[in-house]
C-alpha cells in the first residue's frame, strides 16, 4: 500500500514538473502574465477564460502595492501583461510612464463600467485603467450592545464606546475620520487643519480597543468590541457571520478606494490582457468575480446578477451619491509627514 502511494506521489511530482515546463514553453506563444494580490479571482473564472481563449494564465502575487511598483520599475514595464493594484499607486505608475493606454476597440464591454468609479484622480480620462472592485470604510456595530444611534463618525466619540471600538490600521482613513467630522478633505495639505483633526482624534483614544488590518471582523463577531470601522470585504464577512450587525455609511461622507486593472507599458502580450479585461467586464463574469472577492461591484450591469444573499453588501445603496465620496489620494510631503506623526502619537495615547 505504502509503495503504491509512493509511486503515485512520484508520478504526480513528475507530472507537475512537466506541467511547469508546459507553462514555460507556452509563454512563447500565448500566456497572460497576471500580477496582483493572491485570491483576487475565483479559479473557475480563470479556467473558463483559459478554455475559451486558449490563453494560459500565469498568476503571480505581490503583498504590497509598493513591491509591484518596484518590480515594474526594474523590468521597465515589461514581464507582466496585466496588473491589478490600488488607485494611489496607479497614479504613480502612470506618471512614471509604466502603463500603456488601453485600446478600447479591443474592449467592447468597456461601457459596462459603472461611471461612478470612473474619471478618478489616478486616471482622470480613463485611458489607462478599468476598475476591478471598490471598497469603502463603513461603521459596523452590534445593535444589541449599542444604545447610541450611530449615523456618522461623530458618534464614535460617544462615551458609550469606551474601550469598545476597533478600527483598521490605515492611518489615512482613521485620521480622515477626524478630518471629515470637522468638514475637511481627506487630502488636505493644510497643516493647521491637520493639527485640528489631530486634537480631535486624540480624544477618541480612550474608546479604541484595537487597531488592525487583518480579519478585524473576527473581533466584532466574537464580541471583543461592539463597533468597528472597517473595509468592505470585512463588512461582507461580518454580516455573513452575524446578520444582526448594523452597517452605517457615515453621514460625513466616505472615502473609497478603487482597485484598477492596467497594462504595463512593455507588456509582452497586451492582446491577451485586452481580451482578459473584456472577459472580466462581461456582466455574468463580473457578478461571479465580485461574489468571490467581496468588494463593491464596479460593473454596472452585473449589479442585478449578483446573488441576492450578497447583493446588499456588494452594490452601493441607490441613495448613495458620488458627491458623498472622496477618494484618498497622494498628499504633499509635509502633510504626509504630519499624518505619520499624528498616527504614532494617537497610538501612544490609545496604549497609555
Amino acid at each position: 500500500m505504502k509503495k503504491v502511494l509512493a509511486q503515485i506521489l512520484v508520478l504526480t511530482l513528475c507530472i507537475s514538473l512537466f506541467a511547469g515546463f508546459g507553462a514555460v514553453s507556452a509563454s512563447a506563444d500565448n500566456t497572460l502574465n497576471l500580477y496582483t494580490w493572491a485570491e483576487m479571482f475565483d479559479p473557475d473564472v480563470l479556467a473558463e477564460f483559459e478554455a475559451e481563449t486558449g490563453i494560459t494564465i500565469n498568476y503571480t502575487n505581490f503583498d504590497y502595492d509598493e513591491t509591484m511598483l518596484a518590480k515594474l520599475e526594474s523590468t521597465k514595464g515589461g514581464d507582466y501583461d496585466l496588473v491589478i493594484a490600488d488607485d494611489y499607486i496607479i497614479e504613480t505608475v502612470i506618471a512614471e510612464g509604466l502603463a500603456q493606454k488601453l485600446d478600447l476597440s479591443k474592449i467592447p464591454n468597456f461601457g459596462n463600467i459603472n461611471p461612478i468609479y470612473q474619471g478618478q484622480f489616478y486616471d482622470p480620462t480613463d485611458e489607462y485603467t478599468a476598475p476591478y472592485g471598490a471598497g469603502v470604510q463603513t461603521i459596523v456595530y452590534d445593535p444589541s450592545y449599542v444604545e447610541t444611534e450611530v449615523t456618522g463618525y461623530e458618534d464614535l466619540w460617544n462615551e458609550e464606546f469606551e474601550d469598545n471600538l476597533a478600527v483598521i490600521a490605515n492611518y489615512r482613513v482613521i485620521i480622515g475620520m477626524a478630518l471629515k467630522v470637522l468638514g475637511y478633505s481627506y487630502n488636505t495639505n493644510d497643516l493647521d487643519e491637520l493639527e485640528e483633526a489631530a486634537q480631535l482624534l486624540y480624544k477618541l483614544a480612550p474608546n479604541i480597543r484595537l487597531i488592525k488590518d487583518d480579519n478585524l471582523q473576527d473581533d466584532l463577531i466574537s464580541g471583543e468590541v461592539s463597533a468597528a470601522v472597517m473595509y468592505t470585504s470585512q463588512v461582507t464577512m461580518a454580516k455573513l457571520a452575524n446578520p444582526e450587525l448594523a452597517v452605517e455609511y457615515p453621514k460625513e461622507g466616505i472615502g473609497f478606494g478603487i482597485m484598477g486593472m492596467f497594462i504595463p507599458s512593455a507588456a509582452p502580450n497586451a492582446d491577451a490582457a485586452h481580451q482578459f479585461i473584456d472577459f472580466i467586464l462581461r456582466p455574468e463574469i463580473s457578478a461571479r468575480c465580485f461574489e468571490y472577492l467581496g468588494y463593491y461591484c464596479t460593473t454596472k450591469p452585473a449589479d442585478d446578477l449578483i446573488n441576492e444573499e450578497y447583493r446588499e453588501f456588494l452594490v452601493l445603496p441607490t441613495e448613495f451619491k458620488a458627491e458623498d465620496m472622496e477618494m484618498i489620494g497622494n498628499i504633499g510631503e509635509e502633510a504626509a509627514a504630519k499624518q505619520e506623526e499624528i498616527w504614532i502619537e494617537f497610538r501612544n495615547l490609545c496604549g497609555a
Binding site: Y64, E66, L69, T92, D163, A166, A169, Y171, I208, R209, L210, I211, K212, S222, G223, E224, N330, E333, A336, E340, E341, I344, E345, R347, N348, C350, G351
Partner: protein, 286 residues
C-alpha cells in the same frame, strides 16, 4: 606530524567565510549606514543628498518618547524573564541527566511551531470570555470579563513568553559548566547557602545571565508583531516604527537611522557585557 598549511591554502579555505561576512554582514550594514544619511524622495525612493535630518528627527519628542517607552517595556520584560528564567535554568542544570534531557526537549518543542501560531494561542486565552476569563470567573475571582487582550500586560506576557527560553537555555549552559566544588568550599568555610549563592554561584553564572539579558532586551524592542497581535497595535515599539517607516511610509533613510541607533544600543550592551563578565565570547551562543 601535521603538515604546515601554506598561506594561499589558508586564503582559499577562509575565502568563503570572508566573502560571507562581506556580503551578508558588512555590506548590508554599510548600505544601511549610508542610507541613513540620505534624503527621502518625494514619493518613493531615496535621493543621494547628504543630511543629518534623520538623526535629528529621532530627538523629536514623538520619536524620543517612543524610544523611551520601548526601552521601558524592554526593561520590564528583561527583569521578568530573568526572574523566571534564572531559577528555571538553574534547577534544570541540577537535575539528573535523563530528566534534564526531557526538560530541555520540552523547552525546545514550542520552537518547532511558528511563533505567530503560539501568539494566536494567547489570544484564545486572553480574549473576552476566553480561557482566562472563564477560569477566573469559575473561581469567583472576577465577575466581569477582564478584557486582557489588547492591553499592555498582554503584550508584556507575550514577550516574556516568546523570550523566556533564551534566558533558560543560556543560564542552563552556564550553571551546567559550573564547578560545584567552589560552592562546597564556600559552605565549608562557613558561608550560609544564601551567601554562597550570591558570592559564588551567581558570580560564576553571570555570563549566562548576561547573555540571557542581551538575548531578551535587544529583541524586545523589535518584536513588533507581538505588540500588534496582543496589543492591538496600541503599544508602539521602536521596531514597529522601523517597520512602518519601511513598509507604509517608505521613508527608508529614517528607518535606516532608527536601525543604526538600535544597533548602537545593542553594541553598548555587548560592551557592558564584556566589562561585567570579562568574557570575550557570549556564553551559550557557541
Amino acid at each position: 606530524m601535521k603538515p604546515k598549511r601554506r598561506g594561499w591554502e589558508n586564503a582559499v579555505f577562509l575565502a568563503p567565510l570572508y566573502l560571507f561576512t562581506l556580503v551578508f554582514l558588512i555590506g548590508p550594514f554599510v548600505y544601511m549606514l549610508v542610507l541613513s544619511f540620505m534624503t527621502r524622495a518625494e514619493t518613493w525612493g531615496v535621493v543621494q543628498e547628504f543630511t543629518l535630518r534623520n538623526y535629528a528627527r529621532i530627538l523629536e519628542p514623538l520619536y524620543y518618547n517612543t524610544l523611551i517607552e520601548s526601552l521601558k517595556l524592554a526593561l520590564l520584560v528583561t527583569v521578568l524573564v530573568s526572574l523566571l528564567g534564572y531559577p528555571f535554568g538553574y534547577f534544570m542544570a541540577k537535575l539528573p541527566p535523563k530528566r534534564r534531557a526531557l526538560l530541555l526537549l520540552l523547552v525546545m518543542i514550542p520552537f518547532w511551531t511558528s511563533s505567530l501560531m503560539r501568539l494566536y494561542g494567547w489570544i484564545i486565552i486572553f480574549r473576552a470570555n476566553g480561557l482566562l476569563d472563564k477560569l477566573l470567573m469559575a473561581l469567583h475571582l472576577i465577575r466581569k470579563p477582564l478584557k486582557m487582550l489588547y492591553t499592555y500586560p498582554a503584550v508584556a506576557v507575550g514577550m516574556v513568553y516568546a523570550l523566556l527560553p533564551f534566558m533558560m537555555l543560556s543560564v542552563y549552559s552556564s550553571v551546567e559548566k559550573m564547578d560545584w566544588t567552589l560552592v562546597e568550599a564556600a559552605r565549608d568555610l562557613g558561608a550560609s547557602p544564601a551567601k554562597a549563592f550570591l558570592t559564588v554561584t551567581l558570580k560564576l553564572t553571570m555570563p549566562g545571565l548576561m547573555t540571557g539579558v542581551i538575548l531578551t532586551f535587544v529583541p524586545s524592542m523589535g518584536l513588533f508583531f507581538v505588540a500588534d497581535i496582543l496589543g492591538g497595535n496600541k503599544i508602539v515599539l521602536l521596531g514597529s516604527v522601523i517597520q512602518e517607516q519601511l513598509m507604509k511610509v517608505h521613508d527608508w533613510p529614517f528607518a535606516a537611522a532608527l536601525s543604526v541607533i538600535m544597533m548602537a544600543m545593542t553594541s553598548i550592551l555587548i560592551l557592558l557585557y564584556r566589562r561585567i563578565t570579562g568574557a570575550k565570547e557570549m556564553e551559550g551562543m557557541i
